[in-house]
Symmetry: C2
DNA sequence: TGATGATTTGGTTATATTGCCAATAATACG
DNA sequence: CGTATTATTGGCAATATAACCAAATCATCA
């Protein structure tokens, strides 16, 4: 693959990789409604707080979320709401896959 | 995390994971224009044909592409064109990240 | 059938990701 | 200050991904 092309797709892949984890998708979904502290997200995800913190760091590095410290807490918010539009298409993909699987059985 | 919720996000993550690789993004981009044989895609990606075949298998399992054998060749096509809309948003994310990095320097 | 071309599959190694625990910041407050 | 609360970082073990080569499959045609 051409090196310039590779750089372009590598950068894009980095963003998608950041989204490609169940816990991180849940986090993004929650942030769609409103900002949340790390502790709140930890309760929702149901993992160790250090694990959630690392997930948030990945989302932040990818440019998907913002963090803002207020007192002892750090609040995360969605930076680029357009990612929410992914979910609809992903559901379409899943549905299409399911349909074809059903078609095979019949 | 609740088990039902987990299943939902796991399925979604599987689709995004399938997209989260530079070579697979290149493939999807190429398939946006027209169907391609494995050999054609291999030339574009610039990896071993077995590697490309495995990438295609991942995209297929995720429900993102269709395959159709015609003679000795197998042609892959995009199954759910809505994924192309991801690229625009991903570029937005990358641009926003770049902007904030520039802002930090100044 | 045997040979050839196109693709997939199996196996192996290298690298990356994930999740937890422990230790370290950062903040608030008595 | 000393302590409690919230979050991040370092380190490690387990698991998952990725790439290549070699071998197997599938289709065509002499």
């Amino acid at each position: 693959m051409d090196v310039g092309l590779q750089a372009k797709y590598q950068a894009r892949a980095q963003v998608l990789k950041a989204l490609a984890h169940p816990s991180r998708l849940l986090i993004v979904d929650q942030l769609a409604a409103r900002e949340h502290s790390v502790a709140e997200l930890t309760a929702l995800v149901g993992a160790d707080i250090s694990t959630v913190s690392k997930h948030l760091s990945i989302l932040k590095t990818a440019g998907l979320v913002n963090d803002q410290r207020r007192g002892k807490q750090v609040f995360y918010s969605l930076r680029t709401p357009c990612v929410l539009s992914f979910f609809g298409c992903v559901e379409t993909v899943l549905q299409a896959k399911l349909d074809s699987q059903i078609r095979l059985v019949r």
